[in-house]
């Protein structure tokens, strides 16, 4: 970890108009939860909370927020050339990757965790949805980490990381997950759902995941390690695009 890199990355991430837009995105689930609560008719709190948190947060807000910051902290600097001022320093490449990923994961958590807790409680409190809400809130923490680190690695591998990330979230985790059960093995969403289900204890059965909790945790750690390793190796052999 390198403190000056963390500070400059935070200053960069928070200073931009894009961050403000993404923060708005994190508020949307709470609004919709409120509307559903006011006008809603369903009484089964657990299923409603699980359905809402899965559809709105784990499927859309979490990956999108992680994608924006994951690709923004390192990938955008590599593309516009400002990364040179970090690379041309006597600093080990792993320190740069870890510092950058920590900031991306940290901001993602800071936005998504409160949004999950609030949305979950607003729609589920007093109707048996509390355990589900807590389960999701805790599960989203490692979820943010894996997504963020994964997208940081993606942003070092390709300059088209944003599009590649969108394809992963909406095609691999979305479309294909419905058709091929196998995709669940490499789907961060399934890890989060499995973890949330396990944490929610008895109410956990309301959360459907095609991966059980143990394999989810193991796979998450493996994905985390592999992504970090790829990011470090690729950053070490990153080459500048010369004008010639």
């Amino acid at each position: 970890m390198n403190w000056p890199i963390v500070v400059v990355t935070l200053r960069g991430a928070l200073g931009r108009r894009r961050t403000f837009l993404v923060a708005l995105l994190a508020v949307v689930p709470v609004l919709i939860a409120a509307i559903i609560r006011v006008g809603g008719t369903s009484t089964d709190g657990a299923a409603l909370t699980a359905g809402l948190l899965d559809a709105l947060l784990v499927t859309t807000v979490l990956p999108l927020v992680a994608l924006v910051f994951g690709t923004g902290v390192l990938g955008s600097e590599l593309d516009d050339g400002t990364a040179v001022y970090l690379l041309l320093k006597p600093i080990e490449r792993w320190r740069i990757v870890v510092s950058k990923a920590a900031v991306a994961a940290g901001i993602t958590m800071a936005l998504v965790v409160p949004s999950t807790l609030l949305a979950g409680l607003v729609v589920g409190a007093g109707r048996g949805g509390e355990a589900i809400a807590i389960g999701f809130t805790v599960a989203v923490l490692p979820g943010s980490l894996v997504y963020a680190v994964g997208f940081v690695a993606l942003s070092v591998v390709t300059s088209r990381a944003l599009i590649a990330g969108l394809l992963y979230v909406f095609i691999w985790e979305g479309l294909l997950a419905g058709l091929f059960a196998g995709t669940a093995l490499f789907s961060v969403r399934q890890y989060v759902l499995a973890l949330a289900g396990w944490l929610a204890g008895s109410d956990g059965k309301a959360i459907k995941s095609s991966v059980d909790a143990q394999t989810a945790v193991i796979l998450a750690v493996v994905v985390l390690a592999v992504a970090t390793a790829i990011a470090i190796r690729r950053l070490a052999s990153w080459e500048v695009r010369t004008a010639e």
Binding site: R16, L88, P90, V240, A243, E244
Partner: protein, 320 residues
């Protein structure tokens, strides 16, 4: 604007031996596009100009020296250590890249401080303050770089490259966007750094400035090294190019006839009061002229070589 007092201390003893910058048979290609083709040279302390038309391979060379690009063949060493895949060399190396992108949300001061901290200097704040003063950004250092003009941003980049007082400084068109006063100040700065024993290599298209600043030049053309060294010596080596002089004297016509008699002169022109002489051997002619003038009792008012400048040398090398 006060010229920044740049009392640069001499660089720390380089980690290992070997010339400051050394390239041996270095090539770099992208598929079958060869950007740099078998280039070799070695540089010691002093200022060297890296010249060449657009697309000749200047940026590719600088990036390989800065460890931002892997050589496809041959090796690039700074103080004897390969520059690729070795972050430790950056204690000794500073680069001013050509791209203008700098963290827009940071102020000039924060940017210099960041670079100092990342260099793990004992007192980053002092180093940053000194760098800001050296490039004379004092009065705008607390404004965000996003609001800087092109010249200010360029000076911020130079401050970032100087903050750890590197032994080797690489600059890609460093004065881009600077106004006349700042250009003079920067040239003065690079001169004093070189005098303090640093090795400075900078690419530029403004030959009149390179001519006054750089003792040596490296001329690159289509990926190959066309010439290296003092440009006057290079001009001497161009024996196939005649040396042209313009002369004004008390009796041009008589002097012309006297000069034409000498084997070292093969062309004389008298056009609207200006005597132009083309000599094949530079050394012989420059000794002959004053002697011929004295023997014929002619006063020499003016003798000016017309194709000895760096522009002419560069043109001859590139148009080959």
């Amino acid at each position: 604007m006060t010229a920044g007092s740049s009392t640069t201390t001499s660089p720390r003893a380089p980690a290992s031996s070997g010339p400051a910058i050394e390239l041996s048979r270095v090539s770099r290609w992208y598929g079958n596009v060869v950007a740099v083709n078998e280039v070799s040279f070695a540089l010691g302390p002093g200022v060297t100009g890296l010249l060449g038309p657009n697309g000749a391979g200047k940026s590719t060379l600088l990036h390989m020296m800065a460890g931002l690009l892997r050589p496809s063949q041959g090796d690039v060493r700074i103080h004897g250590r390969p520059t690729w895949h070795d972050p430790a060399i950056y204690r000794e190396v500073g680069l001013v890249p050509e791209r203008e992108a700098v963290h827009p949300y940071l102020t000039g001061w924060q940017f210099a401080l960041l670079n100092a901290q990342l260099q793990r200097l004992p007192d980053p704040a002092a180093a940053a303050a000194k760098a800001i003063q050296t490039v004379d950004l004092g009065d705008v250092q607390h404004r965000q770089i996003g609001t800087y003009s092109k010249g200010m941003r360029q000076r911020a980049k130079i401050a970032a490259a100087l903050v750890h007082e590197p032994a080797v400084l690489l600059l890609d068109e460093p004065f881009n966007g600077m106004d006349p006063r700042q250009r003079l100040h920067m040239m003065e700065l690079l001169r004093s750094m070189a005098a303090a024993g640093r090795t400075i290599l900078f690419s530029s298209h403004i030959l009149e400035e390179v001519e006054r600043l750089a003792e040596n030049v490296l001329v690159v053309y289509a990926g190959r090294l066309a010439a290296s060294g003092d440009f006057r010596e290079i001009r001497r080596l161009m024996t196939d190019r005649p040396h042209t002089f313009t002369v004004r004297s008390s009796d041009d016509r008589r002097l012309a006839s006297r000069l034409v008699a000498s084997p070292s002169v093969f062309g004389v022109e008298l056009v609207d009061g200006m005597l132009t002489v083309r000599a094949s051997e530079f050394a012989a002619f420059t000794v002959l002229l004053p002697r011929a003038a004295r023997e014929s009792g002619i006063t020499l008012f003016e003798l000016r070589p017309t194709d000895e400048s760096l522009e002419s040398v560069f043109a001859y090398l590139v148009r080959r």
